[in-house]
């Protein structure tokens, strides 16, 4: 029997407060525990990276952008599933190809169901079950 969704923690990084709130409520509707961060630096400094099971991050972030965050997280927490979202179609061309990190990219606006499906798939394929730090 799979563990309940609320055992999984999904972190969201986006500098747009409203997008952050909407993702919060979407992830809550699927019963995930949610952590919200307005910037990549806030996430990295919070020290809760080890407790996160999946990361959703915007690409166009100030100072440390989504790609940079991807690299940093991949070093600190190898294997952490990451989903990138972007409002700029030109960012899709800059997605690093064939990196070590496991990630998907959604362009805004995206379908909520599709995003949740991607989160669920990422959680199932990354680890056998939630592990608490």
């Amino acid at each position: 029997m799979p563990p309940p969704a609320s055992d999984y923690t999904v972190a969201v990084v986006d500098d747009d407060e409203n997008v952050l709130k909407s993702l919060d409520i979407l992830l809550q509707s699927a019963d995930y525990s949610v952590r919200l961060f307005a910037s990549a630096t806030a996430l990295l400094q919070s020290g809760c990276l080890p407790q996160i099971d999946c990361l959703i991050s915007d690409i166009g972030l100030p100072t440390v952008d989504g790609f940079e965050l991807l690299r940093l997280v991949d070093r600190a927490q190898p294997g952490l599933p990451i989903i990138l979202i972007t409002g700029r179609s030109d960012m899709l061309d800059r997605v690093p190809a064939g990196g070590a990190a496991d990630f998907r990219v959604f362009s805004k606006p995206f379908d909520g169901g599709a995003l949740l499906a991607a989160v669920g798939l990422a959680l199932r394929s990354s680890r056998p079950g939630p592990c608490r730090g």
């Binding site: 997008v19 709130k21 993702l23 509707s29 409002g87 805004k108 606006p109 995206f110 379908d111 995003l115």
Partner: protein, 557 residues
């Protein structure tokens, strides 16, 4: 009145040789004069005085060829310059160089030892020196003529046809002078004073005509020096200096041909003949670099203005996308809370509240874009519409020419003064002209872009941009101003929507009508301030009642 091509105002002339010489040029000229003087000193009184050099018969033809080519090219360039500047002084200089080139023909014909051993092909023993005097007296006379008329008050500039005729007359006259002089010194050689004693040596009589020639050159230098103004004057002084110094150098240290002094004189001759040529080539190279720079700058300016439309569109897209994303995501969340076996109504309500907030935010974004298109009153200035049209066409000139599009500008009478944001109105014009060029780019000729301006309803101005391109298909006509509607594969479809927003923000209107027999006409109006004061100018003119063609959607049913 149709003023075809009149939109491209006559170019400013930047003939560098008619500008004041730079300090560097002055230093260079002084350096050249000093170097010549040093060489002169070295040969006449210095260590090279006794150097013996061999007679090289092939030297004369090569020298004559070099002189002929240099002087001809210089003459050609100067005639071309005259055709632009159309001042007679330039014509005289061009004639001087043509004279110098043509006089080389009798010179080589009479020079002993070139075609026949020890005698010329034509003429006699005296002919060579006299042709030399003829050349060295004729050239400074032309230069004197230039010096005397160059500062004459510029009477009316010659018309182009008159200038061409004058070039023809000048070439014919110069040819006649050279022919007459050449014939005289060839046919009447036995009558000429004996300035040479044999094919190699100059006699004592040589000095009398030589002194006259040297004096003429000195007078030329004095006249040019007293009236020196432009770079050309400066370098002509150097040329005259070379001509003058040739005379004593021909006689000292040895009064004979193929002496070191004689060879040096030939070298000075080639230098004299190439000084002005180098100046002109330098001028052309500089102008060419400037031209490339100017073309590049113009293209960048045009692109900068055109890009603004796309940049606005892209920023709108980005600004709207964020609240849109939030709304869709919250809506999905809300649906999921309601879809549960036991619907979580509180959470669903929260989701809907978020959606409402984001909806308002999207509305604010749109409102702020509209506000940003509204012109700051400080930027509203009196517009010279015809000048704006001219500038816009000038910016599009290379594209118009590339697509071989004929431009017609038809200002129809005096325009009332209208006010608006210059840059924004120009952006609209550029967008409409660019659209017209695109519409005609693949079409058969004749391709005609006509831009007209006329008074409209008293205080306004109506501008029409008409093309003979593909036109707008009837099913698209009511959609072309919609944002995101485009027929171009690379466009966002924001161009016309933004154009309309800009014109409406200027209290004007923008609409479309089919052109006859083919193509499209885009028309917009701009208004004077009197009407702007009305509460809402857009409501004061009913589109439906307008006599002008409007989109089907707005037509009275």
């Amino acid at each position: 009145m149709v003023k075809a091509d009149a939109v491209f105002p006559e170019e400013q002339h930047f003939i560098l040789s008619t500008l004041s010489p730079s300090a560097a040029q002055k230093r260079l000229a002084l350096g050249v004069v000093c170097a010549i003087t040093i060489v002169f000193g070295l040969i006449t009184v210095g260590p090279f005085k006794h150097v013996h050099v061999e007679r090289v018969d092939a030297f004369v033809p090569s020298y004559v060829t070099a002189m002929f080519v240099c002087d001809s090219i210089t003459a050609l360039l100067l005639y071309a310059q005259f055709a632009i500047v159309r001042a007679r002084a330039n014509l005289v200089i061009a004639s001087a160089y043509l004279f110098a080139a043509l006089v080389m023909i009798p010179f080589i014909l009479v020079f002993p030892g070139v075609f026949r051993p020890d005698e010329g092909l034509m003429g006699g023993m005296q002919s060579t020196s006299w042709v030399y005097f003829f050349q060295h007296a004729g050239f400074p006379l032309f230069i004197l003529g230039y010096g005397l008329i160059k500062d004459a008050p510029p009477a009316r500039r010659l018309r182009q046809a008159a200038a061409s005729a004058e070039i023809g007359v000048s070439i014919a006259l110069t040819g006649a002078i050279v022919s007459a002089g050449g014939l005289l010194f060839i046919k009447a050689h036995s009558w000429l004073p004996r300035v040479t004693v044999d094919a190699m040596h100059f006699g004592a009589l040589w000095w009398y005509p030589a002194t006259v020639v040297a004096l003429l050159n000195v007078i030329g230098i004095v006249v040019l020096w007293s009236r020196r103004r432009v770079a050309l004057d400066l370098w002509l002084i150097v040329v005259m200096f070379l001509y003058a110094i040739e005379i004593p150098l021909s006689y000292y240290p040895d009064p004979e041909r193929f002496s070191i002094g004689w060879y040096a004189v030939r070298g000075f001759g080639v230098l004299a003949s190439s000084v002005v040529l180098m100046l002109l080539i330098h001028e052309m190279a500089t102008l060419y670099a400037r031209l490339l720079g100017a073309v590049g700058a113009q293209r960048r300016e045009r692109e900068a203005r055109l890009i603004t439309g796309d940049a606005v569109a892209a920023s709108i897209a980005h600004e709207v996308r964020q609240p849109l994303t939030a709304m869709i995501t919250s809506a999905d969340a809300g649906l999921r809370f309601l879809d549960r076996p036991a619907p979580d109504l509180d959470k669903a309500k929260e989701a809907f509240r978020l959606i409402a907030t984001d909806g308002h935010r999207a509305g604010d974004v749109v409102a702020s874009i509209r506000a940003s298109l509204k012109t700051d009153p400080a930027k509203r200035t009196a517009l010279n519409v015809d000048e704006l049209i001219e500038q816009a066409l000038a910016l599009e000139r290379s594209d118009l020419q590339k697509n071989r599009i004929q431009v017609k500008v038809e200002p129809r009478g005096e325009l009332p003064e209208v006010r608006g944001d210059r840059i924004q109105v120009q952006q609209v014009l550029l967008n409409l002209i660019t659209n017209a060029i695109h519409a005609m780019s693949g079409k058969e000729e004749p391709k005609v872009l006509s831009v007209t301006s006329e008074a409209y309803e008293g205080a306004g101005v109506l501008v029409s941009v008409a093309d003979t391109g593909t036109g707008i298909e009837s099913q698209h006509r009511d959609r072309i101003f919609n944002p995101l509607f485009t027929t171009k594969s690379d466009g966002m479809g924001m161009g016309l929507a933004i154009c309309r927003a800009i014109i409406e923000a200027q209290h004007g209107r923008l609409w479309f009508a089919p052109n006859t027999p083919r193509g499209a006409v885009f028309q917009f109006t701009l208004r004077g301030d009197a009407i702007v004061a009305a509460p809402d100018p857009r409501l004061s003119v009913s589109r439906a009642s307008s006599t002008l063609p409007v989109f089907p959607a707005c037509r009275p049913s």
